[in-house]
């Protein structure tokens, strides 16, 4: 591609008078993208998350050993070396391979929690904010009740009731993490519900359902995406915490929290058993936090010329 074609494409994207629906949408995304990439750290965050996705997708190729079957006879608790990059654990399993496969479970937890909790919070918050009155009071008191419990304790209670396992851990985390999203969506809804542009749609004869879904929700989504991304680190840590307590993923599943839990016994002499998965959690959490900060700059409707 020559310099001119790149130049003309950029002009097409930034055009003042887009000629089609698609050009308008792409132009808008391009502006957000430029603002996002202007923040170097956020870009690093994005790269970390992309790397996580790639590692999870290609785990079978990237992992040299099995994640669940080890060499008990010859390879117990070996220190990091060329053969075993992050050493081996007490069952002779290669820790690098386990971390690579564990990335799948981390993604699994994060994505499932996000697609369960965010829509629930969004729906509860926007409906409460737009309807007001009794609906608002009831929905918000329920939210308050959920907020009153410490997150990990409530998740513990749910896992205890549902039984240990990674699916139940996901469910428990999702149930405990939607209330802040409902709060945010409600606050955003309250700021826009009396604006003239919502009044104008009411005057078109739109149903409340349509107004909430098509006019209010799109305004709440960017702050919600930011918040969910910033919460991802917390979700990973909660999942790891549940795994550590033996209530999340069950052995031999290579989940990072569970791996730290099993490495706890050797933490003084064989630090790599708990250290390597701990470091993995740290990197991914950091990645999500950096990404969230960048998204805040790129998507926040109150900043810039959106």
């Amino acid at each position: 591609m020559s310099v001119e074609t790149i130049q003309s494409r950029r002009e097409w994207l930034l055009s003042d008078r887009p000629a089609s629906r698609m050009q308008a949408r792409l132009g808008r995304s391009y502006v957000a993208w430029r603002r996002f990439t202007a923040n170097r750290l956020a870009f690093v965050g994005l790269l970390i998350i992309l790397a996580l996705v790639v590692v999870a997708a290609l785990a079978g190729v990237l992992a040299p050993y099995s994640a669940t079957v080890g060499d008990l006879k010859n390879a117990r608790l070996l220190a990091p070396s060329a053969a075993h990059w992050f050493g081996t654990d007490d069952l002779g399993r290669d820790i690098y391979s386990r971390i690579v496969y564990g990335s799948r479970w981390t993604l699994y937890v994060v994505i499932l929690v996000a697609i369960i909790a965010a829509p629930i919070g969004l729906l509860v918050g926007t409906v409460a904010g737009y309807a007001g009155g009794w609906t608002d009071a009831i929905l918000m008191r329920v939210t308050d009740i959920f907020l009153a419990f410490p997150k990990l304790v409530l998740a513990l209670a749910f896992v205890a009731a549902l039984g240990p396992g990674i699916e139940n851990a996901v469910l428990a985390i999702a149930i405990t993490s939607w209330p802040p999203y409902a709060r945010i969506s409600r606050a955003e809804t309250l700021t826009v519900r009396n604006s003239d542009y919502i009044k104008a749609v009411q005057l078109m004869g739109a149903s409340p359902f349509r107004i909430v879904l098509r006019h209010i929700m799109p305004l709440c989504i960017s702050s919600l995406i930011i918040r969910v991304t910033l919460d991802m680190a917390g979700i990973i840590l909660t999942a790891a915490g549940l795994g550590f307590l033996g209530l999340g993923a069950q052995p031999p599943l290579p989940e990072w929290g569970t791996m730290i839990a099993s490495g706890r016994r050797f933490i003084l002499d064989q630090w790599w058993v708990a250290g390597a998965p701990g470091f993995a959690i740290l990197i991914v959490s950091l990645g999500f936090n950096l990404l969230g900060d960048g998204l805040r700059d790129a998507l926040d409707p109150r900043s810039g010329d959106q």
Binding site: D16, R17, P18, A19, S20, R21, Q23, A24, R28, S195, D196, Y197, K199, A200, V201, Q202, L203, M204, G205, A206, R210, R214, H215, P218, L219, P301, D305, Q306
Partner: protein, 248 residues
């Protein structure tokens, strides 16, 4: 001529505050009717009560011979539309002009959307180039034109105008007023227009009503106002105020 819009003894109460105290008015078909008064006199509330945005506690509103109930039916919005005062607040910040104009058509299930949108944009003097812009890519006057296009796209017979030009600067004001005049003549619309600018009202309207504290002070014709043939002191004060500073 028959009345396109008539209001009888309309009361609007917010909590304890009586914003409208038994206001009556009659707007004839094809007429342009003005509402003047100081801030807080209830002119905007009257418009909002007609559209159903402000709750009417008593009184009747009749549109084209039909008495309106407590809630407005969908058909009502095809008869009556409104243009808001602030063009910076009345357009959705995340929607293109195209989306904004499509919404009313989608709500009312109108099929020939493409053609109507193009026609509406032409009518308000915005070419195709504006169709896929976002509100932040438009100037104040252009935004108000989009708002007018949106109000017209359902082809209403009555247009309520809530100080449609007070947020615009003088030259743009004149353009938008001329556009409104032109649209009214072409579509034979009935206007009910709120303004605190007496010059605009005398220019645009044949008859007008002066309001104060939620009550009717008097009704006049434009020529009466121009000739200062008014009977109430309040109106006289308004006229004096509109003439601007007087050096002592």
């Amino acid at each position: 001529m028959t009345a396109a819009l008539s209001v009888e003894g309309l009361e609007v109460v917010f909590d304890r505050f009586r914003a409208l105290k038994g206001v009556s008015l009659e707007v004839r078909e094809g007429e342009s009717y003005g509402l003047v008064g100081e801030s807080g006199s209830g002119k905007s509330t009257l418009l909002r009560a007609i559209t159903g945005l402000a709750p009417a506690s008593s009184g009747t509103i009749t549109v084209n011979g039909k008495v309106l109930g407590k809630t407005r039916e969908k058909a009502f919005y095809r008869e009556v539309q409104m243009v808001f005062q602030d063009p910076y607040g009345s357009l959705h910040p995340r929607q293109t002009v195209d989306r904004l104009l499509q919404e009313p058509l989608a709500i009312h299930g109108i099929a020939d959307g493409e053609k109507r949108i193009e026609r509406a944009l032409d009518e308000v003097g915005l070419g195709k180039g504006f169709r896929f812009r976002y509100a932040h890519q438009l100037s104040g006057g252009q935004r108000q034109r989009v708002a007018i296009a949106r109000a017209l796209i359902l082809e209403p017979s009555i247009l309520l105008l809530d100080e449609p030009t007070s947020a615009l600067d003088a030259s743009v004001q004149a353009e938008v007023l001329n556009l409104l005049e032109e649209v009214r003549r072409r579509r034979k619309l009935t206007f009910l227009m709120v303004s605190h600018d007496l010059a605009i009202i005398t220019h645009m309207c044949e008859r007008l009503m002066v309001m104060q504290n939620g009550e009717v002070v008097e009704t006049l014709t434009a020529s009466q106002l121009i000739g200062h043939r008014v009977s109430e002191d309040y109106t006289r004060n308004l006229l004096r105020a509109s003439e601007g500073f007087v050096r002592v």
